[in-house]
Subunit: 327 residues, 2 copies
């Protein structure tokens, strides 16, 4: 005989259920943060003391590399190991790829009957920065709700992926044979952020060659104290997935313990710090890029004349940022 009226189901009741991993409360918390309404503040205050236990694994790579299938297989493996999983799937900003992404999400529903798997897709609302901030909030909520592993899945190799990568403790970069030019493109930025490299669709020809190319590239990189392993997977058949899960655990053990964290992952505070550094940098770039300002013009002329180096000029320009209009 429960008491009528506002009881455990009132204002705070659902927040308590969030902290014990209730899926309905999880969904409500994420919606509250997306809406940025009054409940968002309650959610953030509630989860703050509970942050920092989940391992955050980022998965990124080119379209066509079979990333979603890989993530699915990885989830199955994590469940087999008794770990609960949260997935934050970032949909890219382009409306054109809607079909493929929708397909990915549908495949993800193979886990929909499993309370140990919680998937949330975040669609871009046209603002790259907004997406990584929301992803960070979603990771926090899943972390506080007790998920052992939170997977952040992104598509592509642009600024948004590099930004989202700031969130992850372990970053997996996926490619596949036949994306030869993709491997070239990997050089350009994504390779640098990888903790683990995966050649997926390893049943296709040239998979070993692609893996060897990646290994050769790594030879030229300073990889102490962690050299990213190059793994071959055939995720449709589940091949190589246990090795992938092992590699993530090995990376977790290898990482230097972050100050004050209970595990060996990047602390939530450090994660926010990295995102803030990216957001602040973008703020500076936009403020200076097209600014009309006499002092800035003088700095640029001094650089052209060789009176200032580019580094000195940038330092002086930075001093002006606060007095320039915001973007």
């Amino acid at each position: 005989m429960a008491a009528p009226g506002a009881g455990g189901d009132g204002e705070t009741g659902w927040l308590e259920r969030l902290l014990v991993g209730d899926r309905v409360a999880l969904a409500r918390a994420l919606s509250a943060l997306e809406m940025e309404g009054g409940e968002a503040a309650s959610v953030l205050r509630t989860i703050f003391p509970r942050l920092g236990r989940a391992r955050v694994v980022g998965v990124t790579g080119a379209p066509g590399a079979g990333k979603s299938t890989l993530v699915n297989a990885y989830i199955v493996e994590l469940r087999r190991r008794g770990q609960s999983v949260g997935v934050v799937a970032i949909d890219p900003s382009s409306p054109h790829s809607g079909g493929a992404i929708l397909g990915d999400r549908i495949r993800m529903t193979q886990h929909s009957g499993d309370p140990g798997v919680f998937v949330r897709s975040l669609a871009s609302r046209g603002q790259v920065g907004g997406l990584s901030r929301m992803a960070s909030r979603a990771v926090d909520v899943m972390d506080a709700a007790g998920r052992d592993v939170v997977i952040v899945e992104t598509v592509g190799a642009g600024q948004s992926e590099i930004e989202v990568a700031e969130i992850a403790d372990t970053k997996i970069v996926v490619t596949a044979p036949g994306l030869g030019d993709e491997i070239q493109a990997l050089k350009a930025g994504i390779l640098e952020i990888a903790d683990i490299l995966v050649v997926n669709k390893a049943d296709l020809p040239h998979a070993r060659r692609a893996a060897a190319q990646l290994e050769a590239m790594l030879d030229f990189r300073d990889s102490a104290p962690w050299r990213p392993p190059v793994l071959c997977t055939a995720s449709i058949r589940g091949e190589g997935i246990a090795e992938l899960a092992d590699a993530v655990e090995a990376h977790a053990r290898s990482a230097a313990p972050a100050e004050g964290s209970r595990g060996q992952q990047v602390s939530p505070r450090r994660r926010v710090q990295r995102l803030l550094s990216t957001i602040a940098a973008e703020r500076v770039r936009r403020a200076l890029h097209e600014a009309e300002d006499r002092r800035l013009a003088d700095i640029c002329e001094a650089v052209l004349k060789g009176e200032l180096s580019f580094t000195e000029g940038a330092e002086r320009a930075l001093e002006l940022v606060h007095s320039l209009p915001g973007p």
Copy 2:
């Protein structure tokens, strides 16, 4: 009977010859800037009053798109139109692609007998930022030496390309059929900077489809006042190259006149301003990313608790940059 000792060939003689386009003086000036020795200052002082006449055309795109062949064909077309050309070729940082790049440079020597074409390759010395600064200086020297068009050619789609793109008045992005995933990758960042899109190797199957895909992507972009044309070229046969040269001229005419410039291109001052904005942004990102600072930690905690938004947190973090150690 020339007078012995220091005459027209002395300290200032070669600088005068630089300004009338002498190739030996051009090479010496570029070397002086790369060495950053005492002559660098003289070069910059000398060329400063002569800057701002060249049109700077950036060419970038995926490896395998036939970019160098396209640039070669474009040079031939420019020479046919009576324009003198300077080329700044940026070699990417990876030592692995040395073979391909060397091949490109060898092909470029088809112009070596033509005094109207001057090619300079800049190899990375491991520092991305350094390359775009050097490219900017090289553009200035070629500009002051009277080149009508300076082409800046880069490989790949990473940060360095986006940085180098800041230098160009007109940015050409090259792709090719069969690089289907490349087209996906184009969405991620490079597409946004393109003034002209080229589908090269248009004699291959699916060229028209690739062009149609790019057009469809552009439909979703706000393209006023300039919608990038999508051109098909078969640069080995010289097809579509005249149209490319026409498109560059059309873009030059369409651009809003920059303040105080003699043409319609980005002024050298504005070009430096854009580079400084990129360098300053990177300085901020590095200073904040891993900093150990109590004030910064407090800001991050406030963001985690929802007491500050990410935007507010970034603004506060930016105020700390000057008091943090430089990278």
